[in-house]
Structures are given as C-alpha cells and as structure tokens.
C-alpha cells in the first residue's frame, strides 16, 4: 500500500456511494500515476462520472478514502479541489451562457487590481492560454453565441488553465469532430510532458487506445480491472465492460433501400449565414448519413426538415407529395421524428419521470374512448422503451435527470421510436453512448430501415457513418458538397468533400 | 363611470377649463366607500365654478406628495387635500407655501400647528375621535336599554369582541380607543374577549368572527367594528352560526352608515352606525377651495364658520332604526 502511494499521484480506495434506490459506486478503487493518461471506461451508468464527482467535491462519498499526492484528502467542495491541484472538464457543459468567454474561464478566481477586476489581464491571459493551446475564439464573445464544440474547447482550456496536477476529462470529445479531437490530443500530449496526469472518460474505443497509458474498467458501480493500454485490444475492453463478447462493432446490414420516400430540393434557410441550396433524396429503407465539419450546418438542415427553422425556398416531398413542416407538430403529423443534438436543452424533461419522457411525443396513442389517458398503455410503452433500449433505471417513475447521460439518450431515442415515424432524423444519436448500447441502437436503426422507414443520421464519428449508412451526404460550410455511396467511399474522400467550400 | 370626467380636468375641455380657475384635489383612496360620496359631492359643487383636477392617492402618502408636485406644475390655483397620513401635512404646506398656493385639507385633520404655520391653510372635516365617541355612546345607549337581553351571563359586564381596521390607520386607532373609553366613561364595565385586525375587509372579518364564535360562543355579548364593511362580514358569520333567527341575537355596530348597513339596521341585524356627512364635507371643501382659487376670502358668500383652528367642522351623525331616514337622505 504505502509503496504504491509513493508512485501514484491519486489513489481512490474502496469508494462507495449511494443514491436513493441506487448503489452508484460499490467499493471502487482507482490509482493514477503522475504524467499518465488514465482512461476510465464502462457502460452508461457504470458510475464513472459519479466517481469523478466524489473526487471533485461535488458529491460526498459514503465510504472509502482518497489519497492525493501522498496525503489523504476529502474535498468539501470544488473550490478546494481546484485549489489543491484537481481540475475537471464536466460531462455536461457547465457554463454561464449569458457571460463572455473570459468571464467563464476566470470564474471563481478573477485577477484583481485592488478591489477591481483586472479586465485587461483577464483578456491577455485568456488570449495567451488560447494561443498556447492553438484555440481561435475571441475571449470577449458571449458563450451563448458559440457552437457546442467551441464551448467544449473553452471548457478544456479552462481546465488546463488551473495548472493542476491532475485533470479529469469526462467525455470531452462527445461534441468534437475529428480535427478538434486531434487538437485535444495534442494538448493532452503536451500536458503529459509537463507531468500532468489525465483521467480520461470516453466511449470512443479508438481514442482510448490511441491516447491512454492505462485503462480502468468499471461495470455496474463496481471495479473490474486496471490494465496497461498496450496490452489491450478494443475487443478486450468491450468484453470487460459489458461482461460478454461483442464480436463486431456494427451489426450486419439487413435493410434494402426501396422506392423514393423523401425528396428535398433546393432547401435554403431564412437566416443568411445558414445553409443554402441543399438537395437530396431518401429511399424507403435507406440510411442516409450526413457528414461534415463542425459548423457545416448539418444540424440546421435536419431542424429545418423538422419545422424548427424557417426556409426561404425549397421543397420537401414526402411520397411524391409536397409537405410543409412549419412546426414540429406538423412534422410529427407528417411522419417525421427528430432526436436532437443537445439532449439537455431540447431533449429531456429533467425533473420528470422516465415514463413521462418516453411517452410525451406519442400522447394521442394513449387516449381511451373517454378522452383520458390509459395508464396501462403508458406503462406498457414505457416498459418497451426501457427493455428494448436497455435503459438502466430503478423504475419507470425515476426522474430522467438522475440517470447517467447515456441512459437519458436511450430514453429519448425510445420516445421517438414510439411515434413509429416514416422519416427518422437522428442528430448525433450515439453521442455519449457506450459500445454495447451503440450496437443495440445500430441494430434498431437497421431494423427500422428494414421495416421500410427512411433514416437520416448526422454523425461526427466517421467509422459509425461508414459502418451503418447506405449513402452519405457531405456538408461543407452550409452547402451540400456531394453525396457518396458508403460501400465505395473512403474517409479521405469524405474529408475532402467536407473541406470543399 | 361615476368618477368625475365632467370636471376632473382632462385638458380636452380647454375653452371652458381655461376660463375657470383650477383646483387641484387628491383623494387618499378613490374607492373608499365614504370618500366616493365626498368625491361626488365635490364634483357637483365644482360644476361651472372651478376646474377640478382629481387624483387618486391610492392610500400612499409618497404618491400623494408627487401628485401635489404635478398639480402645482399644472398650475393649480388652490389645493384640496385629503391626506393619506395626517402627519405629512407639513410637507404639502411647504410645497404650497413656496408657490403661495392656498391649501384646504379635508376629511383627515393635520396638526393644528401646521395650519397655524401657513395663513392660507384650512381644514374641512370631522374630528377624528368623534366617530369613536359617537359609536361608544351608541353602544352604551343600546346596552342600557336592553341589558336583560344583551347581558347573557348576567354579570353586569359587557363582553365584546372588536374588529379593528388597518393597524396604524388614524380612524382605526381613534375609533378603537374612543369607542371603548366612552362606554367606560358611561359607567359600564367592559371585558374584551378578543380584538384583531380585519384590515377593513368584510371577508377577513367573517373569518375572524368564525373563529371567535367557535371559541367563545355565547360568551360574546357585543360585536364592535371599526367600519360597516367589517360589521357586515361579522353578520355573515353570525348568520351562519344561527344568529338573527328565532331569539338568537347579537348586537353589532359599525361606522360609515353605508347603504348596505342601513339595510341591516332596518332589518334589525345591526344596532346602528355612525354617518359621515359626505355631502357637506364635499361641498364645504369646494366652497373654500374655489374662493381661495379666486383670491377671495375662503368663507366669502358661504354659511360655513371657521373655529379657532381654522377648521370648518362637519359633524358625524349617529344612525339607528329611529332616524334611518337621515342615512337614506345622505345617499339621495
């Protein structure tokens, strides 16, 4: 014990943490060496975030102890953690959107001149940090005007700026694209060279093996194993995570694209800086991917299809008939469904139950003849969502806000599947979802396609697009740069198209 | 709307308005049931005599001070002020004095020293304590006349509950004190079972009374209310508890003599009330203000008399079943 604590920067020993009705951590241990990248892996709800929140003083653990830098610590709040050399990039973006970037970076530790804030120093220091990290964001711009990925980069820069001995990154790449992921990896390498340790949580297997030195795997709130990354393969990690073999990452394709179902012509958004002249076709039983760099307006295209944005021109034809989706209601009525990109702001009803979150878009189905809702049907459909999506929850009545991020996402997908849509729009549907669940979602997508639905899926994960779709529409700077056949394309071709405009 | 659009000085009636001198008036609270009659009397009296600019101070003294500023800015030749808070008179006098504008206070009396300090300040109204004294006399008279019936426990003492208006309100304080003091002065022993504020509000009075009836039941021998609104609220509660049917009875008194209360007096559910003479308060106020605005002596051409405090006194009147017509006439 004592000899290991001389080599380890952080030791979390036998941590136990209970929530009402949930044993989130059951005797978990984690040991991190200085200057190493330590990956923390596990399915959704395994307890990764909870463990990190215990370290960071957000939660207080019920049992166990933490040794940091040789001393026993138990941070009462985040301030203490930060002051003692622990910083964290949180899984859910934690920013004050109404304020500007530098206000957010220095929140809790503003540089001062006398009793006043030293705005100039704040600006210069921010600029310096951004420069050293190669980030090009104006420190004075308001956070609410940034894209999700820019916000994420600001969070990363902020965590780095504390000059901590250890930085926790809880799914930092869930809203980043390839280029930015590589950017992050360069930052991590540099930190490592400065002897900073990183705890890295991610569901992206490729990243883990590429970046980490060691991997700790958790399952159901329990510690499973810690191994050196070199000695591991993706399959082994997956096996340890899910407790069984998962021979392939993508299910066998069983869908057969049939006749034309959706024809989108010359779609142009009302907002000038948005997309223009986007056209494509979708067949029954086809899975169309949308690729592109961050800011290429993929999201805005599907939002427009779903009636959330105004168009100046363009038509949407469904089964040969022009449809007008001026609002989500109309879109839903016309058989569209959209799993949005930002789960927290446009997806979940955090305080409300899983049941509520499952059925909200499908209410008409539960009306009995008397006009009242049938509790039985509601319960049945909720159970269908929980079972078929393998949602990890104590009960139907649990509020969705207390589920792990990945499990929340599964409920949202389930919500839309309940509406039995003809056209299913998925915006980064597997963001933050573990490999096991991803496989299940791919299977579901396949199955839906096989049933004759048309599916459009935005993804920033190239392997996913290549593994699941039939064709891929590549967006570049608001324009459709081209459509490629998945079977015959390559990552390089897609990247080239994405950079076309 | 029954308010004063004929004379309240919208600038629309320029031709006529310019000819007549402007009198700026504030009412402490427009919808006070008593003041609404004073207001109407003022309107009537002002017709073709002055351009009356009426303001609603919404029971807020700070607002009233501001309205005085506005009225002065609009060129009022005299002011008729129904104070919210009688002790704020000095501030208004200071403002008026600076512009040499006469002030007629009405209905709520300022300190004598304030009136004495400005030769162009007068008062029209009652004496605040008078309603309390008269209510006390009414209670004493009724008690003496019906002792065998009212004194339910035959201890010779008058056990009462009292519904008070808004605490700190000059009328509420004066009525509470002087009504009881007067009863005692008449040599009647009293015992207070309960006293609580119902904020002039009938609903709150009903609810307080509900609790008191539940608690004291037949021990209550008299219900005294600072105004008729609360008296009516108490009656609603008493009726629910079976009073006023058969031989179950409770004497109730109020102040204001509003029409609704007159009905209750008529039907025997209220012993009596105290009438504020709205007509004459309103008329006297305008008479003085109009004279002042025209630069004449305030009493010029009127029958009013000033007492040693530069005040025109309009008396309160006790109203019972015997003289109910006096009350009725007040609302003609």
């Amino acid at each position: 014990m004592s000899e290991s604590s001389t080599t380890n920067l952080l030791e979390m020993l036998n941590i136990t943490k209970r929530f009402p009705g949930v044993l989130a951590l059951d005797n978990v241990s984690l040991k991190v060496k200085p200057g190493s990248v330590h990956a923390l892996m596990g399915e959704n709800g395994a307890g990764k975030s909870t463990l990190m929140k215990c370290l960071f003083g957000i939660y207080s653990m019920d049992e166990g102890k933490i040794l940091f830098d040789g001393k026993e610590v138990s941070f009462a709040n985040s301030k203490q953690a930060l002051e003692n050399g622990v910083s964290m990039v949180h899984q859910e973006l934690n920013q004050v959107r109404q304020q500007n970037v530098m206000d957010n970076i220095w929140l809790g530790r503003y540089p001062k001149k006398g009793i006043f804030i030293d705005e100039k120093k704040m600006y210069q220091d921010t600029a310096a940090i951004f420069k050293s990290l190669d980030i090009s964001i104006d420190p004075r711009s308001k956070v609410s005007t940034l894209s999700v990925s820019e916000m994420q980069m600001v969070e990363i820069a902020k965590a780095v700026s504390y000059h901590s001995k250890i930085i926790v990154m809880d799914e930092p790449t869930s809203s980043l694209t390839e280029t930015e992921v590589n950017h992050l990896f360069r930052i991590i390498k540099r930190l490592q060279s400065e002897n900073v340790a990183i705890i890295y949580i991610s569901h992206k297997m490729e990243e883990i093996l590429k970046i980490s030195d060691e991997v700790t795997i958790m399952r159901d709130g329990q510690y499973i194993a810690t191994k050196s990354s070199k000695s591991l393969t993706t399959d082994e990690i997956i096996k340890l995570m899910v407790g069984r073999d998962l021979s392939q990452r993508f299910p066998e394709k069983i869908n057969k694209p049939g006749e034309l179902i959706l024809k989108v012509s010359d779609l142009t958004a009302e907002t000038q800086s948005s997309f223009s002249n986007v056209s494509f076709e979708l067949r029954k039983g086809e899975i169309l991917g949308i690729a592109g760099l961050v800011g290429s307006k993929r999201t805005e295209v599907v939002e427009a299809l779903f009636g959330m944005r105004s168009l100046t021109s363009g038509t949407i034809e469904l089964n040969g008939k022009v449809v007008k989706n001026h609002s989500p209601q109309q879109a839903i009525k016309n058989g569209f469904a959209l799993v949005t990109e930002e789960r927290r702001s446009t997806g979940i009803f955090p305080e409300l139950s899983i049941s509520f979150n499952s059925i909200i878009s499908n209410m008409k189905q539960y009306k009995t003849k008397s006009g009242f809702l049938s509790d039985r049907k509601v319960a049945e459909d909720t159970q269908w969502v929980i079972d078929s999506m393998k949602v990890k929850t104590p009960s139907q009545k649990t509020s969705i806000g207390s589920l792990s991020g990945g499990n929340q996402q599964k409920v949202i997908i389930g919500r839309w599947l309940l509406t039995k849509p003809d056209i299913l729009l998925l915006d980064e549907p597997t963001r933050g979802i573990d490999v096991g669940a991803k496989f299940e979602i791919y299977q579901l997508i396949n199955q839906l396609a096989a049933e004759g639905k048309g599916i459009i899926m935005i993804s920033s994960e190239m392997p996913e697009l290549l593994g699941v779709t039939d064709r891929i529409l590549v967006m570049s700077n608001g324009k459709a740069a081209g459509i490629v056949e998945t079977a015959s394309t390559s990552q390089e071709e897609i990247m080239q198209l994405a950079a076309l405009y | 709307a029954g308010c004063s659009n004929s004379t309240s000085g919208t600038d629309s009636g320029k031709d006529k308005g310019d000819a007549l001198p402007a009198v700026g008036a504030t009412i402490y609270k427009f919808d006070d049931n008593f003041m609404s009659y004073v207001r109407r009397a003022m309107d009537t009296a002002a017709k073709d005599k002055v351009k009356l600019m009426l303001n609603d101070s919404q029971n807020d003294q700070a607002k009233q001070i501001e309205q005085v500023d506005t009225l002065i800015a609009k060129g009022a030749k005299s002011l008729a002020i129904n104070l919210v808070d009688p002790k704020a008179a000095q501030t208004i006098v200071d403002k008026a004095k600076a512009k040499n504008i006469p002030v007629i206070f009405f209905n709520k009396e300022p300190d004598a020293s304030v009136l004495a300090g400005y030769d162009k300040a007068y008062y029209v109204g009652t004496t605040s304590s008078e309603s309390g004294v008269l209510q006390g006399e009414l209670i004493a008279k009724a008690w003496e006349a019906n002792k065998d019936k009212y004194d339910k426990n035959k201890d010779g003492k008058l056990q009462y509950v009292l519904l008070k208006g808004e605490p700190g309100h000059p009328d509420a304080e004066a009525r509470t004190k002087f009504a009881i003091d007067t009863v005692k002065e008449k040599g009647i022993q009293v015992e207070e079972l309960a006293m609580d504020t119902a904020m002039w509000d009938a609903m709150k009075a009903t609810e307080k009374m509900d609790a008191w009836i539940a608690k004291y039941n037949d021990k209550i021998e008299f219900v005294i209310a600072n105004n008729d609104g609360m008296a009516l609220g108490a009656i609603a509660s008493l009726e629910k508890a079976g009073y006023f049917s058969g031989d179950k009875f409770m004497p109730v008194v109020g102040v204001d003599a509003i029409p609704e209360a007159l009905e209750m007096i008529e039907s025997g559910k209220m012993v009596g009330s105290i009438l504020n003479d709205a007509k004459n308060q309103g008329k006297a106020t305008i008479d003085l203000a109009a004279n002042a605005a025209n630069g004449k002596d305030v009493l010029d051409g009127t029958e009013w008399k000033l007492d040693d405090k530069k005040a025109v006194r309009v008396p309160y009147i006790e109203v019972t079943k015997e003289n109910i017509q006096v009350g009725r006439d007040a609302y003609k």
Binding site: P20, Y59, S60, N77, M308, S327, P328, Q329, I332, T340, S345, T346, G347, I348, F349, P350, E351, L352, F356, I360, S361, M363, K364, K367, G371, F372, L373 | A1, G2, C3, F30, D31, N33, S36, Y37, R39, R40, K164, P167, M195, D196, D201, A202, M203, T206, E207, K208, A211, W212, A214, K215, G229, L232, G233, A236, K240, P259, E260, E263, Y331
Partner: protein, 340 residues
Amino acid sequence: MNTQASKKSSFSKWLVDNVIYVVLILLVVGIVSASPDFLSMTNLINILSQSSSRIIIALGVAGILITAGTDLSAGRMVGLAAVISASMLQAGDYAYRMYPNLPELPLIVPIVIAMAATGLIAALNGVIVAKFHVPPFIATLGMMIGVYGLTSIYFDRPPYGAQPIGGLSKAFTTFAQRGIKIGQYEFPYLIFYAIVVSLIIWVIWNKTQLGKNMYAIGGNPEAAKVSGVNVARNLIIIYTIAGLLYGLTGTLEAGRVGSATNNTGNMYELDAIAACVVGGVSLSGGIGTVPGVITGVLIFQVINYGLAFLGVSPYIQFIVKGAIIIVAVAFDMRKHAKKK
C-alpha cells in the same frame, strides 16, 4: 441488520418526501397543545370552508405555475367576478340595486357571465404570454393593474357610486353560505364545491394530454416544442382554465360575505402562490400535485385560523406567520438538499 437499516432509511425517505403533510400535522398538534379546545368539529368545518374558495383559486394559479408562469392578476379577476355576479344577484326588494329593473336571475346565469369574463381576460393573458412572449410576471402584472381599473369603473357607477354591492338574493347566499346538515353539524356546500373542482383538476392534470403537456411546457419548453407540443395553444388553455376558476372563486366570495367591492380578492394571488409553493409546486415549473396544493392552502388556513383562535396579538401574528412559512418550506427543502 441490513433490512432494518433500509427500513429506517425508507421511512426517513418517506418522511422527507412528505414533509408538508407532517408540517400540517405538527401545526395542528402545536395549536392543540396550546389550546386543547381547538380540537372541535366546528373548528374543522370552519377551516375547511374557509379553505374552499382558496383551494379553487390556488388550483388555477398552480396550473400556471407548473408551466413556469405566474399570475399576479388572479386576485383582481376574483374581484371582477365578485362584482359582476353580485351586481346581478341582488335581491329584488333590495333598495340599492345596481340594476333596479333587472329581474331576479337564476343563479347559473350570473355565474356563467362572471366566469366568461374572467375566462376571457385570462385567455388574453395566455395569448400575451404565449404569442407575444411577454414574461408572465409582466403580462399578469399589467393585467392586474388593468383589471382593477376595469372593475373599478364597473363598480363605481351611478346610481350609488363606490358602495359595496350587497343585498344579495337569498338563493345566492344560500348557495355560498349554507350547507348540508349531518347530525348536529352543517357542512357548507363550499367544501363540496372545492372537492368537485379538485377532482376535476386532478383528472385534467393526471389523465389528459393537456395535463401532460402542462408539465412538459414547464419542465422544458424547448423540449416540449420539439416533442410536438403546441406550446402556445396549451398555454392559452391553461390560463383560461385558471380564469374560469377565478371567476368561480369570485362568485363564491361575493356570496360568502354577502357583498362585493372592487377590492374583493385584492392580493389573493400572493396567498395562492405562496400556498402552492408551500405545497410543493416549483416556481421554475414542471412540478406540482393537486394534494400538495390543497395541503399548502390548509397549512396557511390553519395558521391564520389557529393564530386568531389562540388570540395571539395581531402584530405578533404577522411575525409568527412569517416564521412558520419560512421554517415549513426550509424543512421541505431538505428533500432537494444539494450536496449528496
């Protein structure tokens, strides 16, 4: 050992989840121990009947709060409805009728007219909030001021000016003041009206699409929109239902006191909102139950009635009342204790 621990913790969890009911019971126990004769059927009936119209208005306000809105105009609408219904329900032989020539109407007519008036105004609130995106606080503040002006104009009119509208017809006062005799006690009809309204509202909140939409809008309006909820329409309906309830409350209030003025209902909204919050409705929307709201109202009414019954001096009453409200909610908040 283990089961015992979990039993204990499940009891304490139950306790924490149901603090408001515990608070209500503690309050009653406190008052009874100060004055044992508080424990009587009469007091119970009084408290229930005094709570009745407050429950009705509170349920209206609660629906709006659950959508993350608020309604400052509720009290003034109660006043408008009170004045309208009273003016049409004066006894034929009353000397100071507002409409001297109006025949005595069947009860239902003025009630419907009053409810229609407040329903319409509340719908306007809904439109302003939903279509013009005015924050509910401001929309209903403006409406509160405006409705008071409107009510005053209706009220302060010839022939009698700003006088309480009284002399209500027997049928009306019976409807609002009398009750059903059971044994030696008379249970006011008011209590039954409140029960019926509560049941209807419970069904709407729990068994209809409108109810689910209401929670969705309050829980996350953006998500609601994306989920296909017609936010604007649902909001307008919810405000309108609240308006209808205010109208009913106003009518009952006029009947209960036997008269109405333009000040009837003044500040009721504050009591109603406070009762809702004490009863567990979240001001940030998405959370609230019918039993919670009812308990909130009862807690307030037990405090009001209890303090008066104990004969606590008026000024002290204010202090005690303020303190109880804060302490009760502070206890309740332990269920959301932040650091876990």
